[in-house]
Amino acid sequence: MYGSIPAASAGSLGSLPALLAFSTEPLAHLRTLDVAVIAIYFIMVLWIGFYLKGRSNTSEEFFMAGREMTAWIAGLSFVSANLGSLELMGWAGSAYQYGILATHWYWIGAIPAMLFLGLVMMPFYYVCKTHSVPGYLDLRYGGGARSVAAISFATEMILMSGVNMFAMAVVMKVVLGWDISFSIFVSSIAVAIYVGLGGLRSAIFNEVLQFVLIWGGALLVPILGLIQTGGVGGLKRQIMANMQSMTGVRSDSYFHLWRDTGSFAANPMGVHWTGIVFGLGFVISFGYWTTDFLVVQRVLAARNLRAARMAPIIGSFFKMAVPFIVILPGLLGLVLLQNPDGSRRQLVGEDVVAACTVSSSGQVDDASACSAAMAKTSLPAAYRQKVLSSEPGAELHSYNQALPLMMVRYLGPGLLGLGITALIAGFMSGMAGNVSAFSTVWTYDIYKPLINKRGSDSHYVMVGRLSILIGVAVSIGAAYLVMHAHGIMDYVQALFSIFVAPLLATILFGMFWKRATKLAGFLGLLLGIVFSAGLFMWVKLVPSALADVALSPDAKPMAENVFRALWAFVFAAIVVVVVSLLTKPRPVAELDGLVYGATVLPKEESVPFYRNEYAWALLVVIIFAALNIIFW
């Protein structure tokens, strides 16, 4: 999850560390009942870890959950590993800023790729019995490509885990006033215990549990919000009225997915439909959902090929529904959030909140910086003056606080504890996903081939358990590193978007083109990563280069991620094709189980249509198309 599409693309969490300097009252105060709800959650996840310890003795059990998960469990875990609390809050904030354009990251940015994984790619992953995505590269291209993928993935997983651990701790401090170290250690130790004891099975069990909790805790906010606005029609009318009062233009851009994406300047996100379709909908989305081992590992644990193919399809139904608990609260926040004096509360960017830091004496630290930052927002002049004068109740809140603010608005004792538990659960499921995937890749793709090839099965299980502890410890170290060197956060968050496009190109050519050679796979991946990192650094050092990367002077940072991924994919694809044509391919007989056209897939037993993966995939396609047309 922490290398996920939203975190990598939104870029909205990068300035979170600056909030540390922002001293104010926490948004919410927990009562005893809330604390009891949170405590019971921790007891439950630890109970599951201890209970499953006895069923994680062999490497197949520990790393692959015995390959006995049903389609439902694998499918829910597949989605849950991606549904982190930072994504929940980040995308609720994005919906507040950009309207339902943010939904693209849940629909076109996920659904086609999930169906493609289930129907087309899963047979190859499953039939070759690989333990990991780098393991597939090993079988297809050899040790070079495997090592590049494994080392980059393991590094990304552990650093992202640390960065997000820290970001979550900052959120807990801002929302609840919790101490940073308390949040970091309690959550990470709990994850280390239950994953270390029960392995992937424990991580998957808890992800399913956490998925249910996230819905149980977050679903009330949109339900109650819609009751208060008078339904979707009332919400739309009020947002348009607000937009008119803020900008003077009565625009309904906030409610259209595609209509205004014909030019960068016509929509609030500053993206073009070509970037959404090809960059997000193809490269980033397919890269994440079909090659990121964090999510693919959940499907590999399915008990048979049919379950493995059904799992992403089941997951896609729930993925399509997630905007209801993420996007809708952001939109509702636009019209419902109020200041203590009853006026409409306008959220701002974290850079503005950080610029208006209040010192211990109760005064704004740097009034001129604060004033300049607020001048870029649509905050009313009178309210800006109140902030500068540090009047009671005149506080600034960031976009990312839209969801917690909505929770505080509607959830009383007990329910608020459940909502906070949902956020904590989302964070922990993501971290568990990170460390379980890291443990498998470290043990199978780095330790076993490069360090100790002849260990016993129990030895590798021990290495796996140890790597979970070490992985969590390194993550904690990364969290504290970010705390003291904020600039690192942007770089670590970019790791996913740098790796994903070359990896996708390498795997797609490997899986669907018999001619792709070992050297081509290795060079395509390696040079693609170098090219992608080069593009990232270019824009980082020369911000005006964004216009060149995204092909428009009107492009905003959100557009950079999708276009950078697109160019990196094209570059890696060219390298793979050119090098393959210049080198000698492997005999087709060696590609059985690895490449389309060289593999005889096992014949699946005939089942009624309601258990057939193609029938369910067709239903997903129909719903997906209908949603895009309705919200066109």
């Binding site: 209970y51 006995e68 549990l209 249910v212 009330l220 208060q228 009383g412 004792p413 007990g414 329910l415």
Partner: protein
């Protein structure tokens, strides 16, 4: 996960039953004493009562359906 051992759905049922019971119980107390948290909106809807009830019933269903020993039959 319906072979030997406790299915995950049972754990989920237990947690929902406990949470639902706690929230429902608090909701009844809140309703009876009219001691609503001041900053919370729409308290007239008595959300903890019906949402807690829904969670508890859902939890009870999962606990009964997936109780240890029954799964796999």
């Amino acid at each position: 996960m319906h072979g030997s051992g406790i299915p995950i759905w049972f754990f989920i049922g237990v947690l929902l039953l406990i949470y639902g019971g706690m929230i429902f119980g608090y909701g009844i107390y809140e309703w009876q004493t009219a001691s609503y948290p001041p900053a919370v909106e729409l308290t007239r809807l008595h959300t903890p009562v019906w949402w807690g009830g829904v969670l508890a019933l859902l939890g009870l269903f999962y606990v009964v359906k997936f109780r240890p020993g029954r799964a796999g039959r």
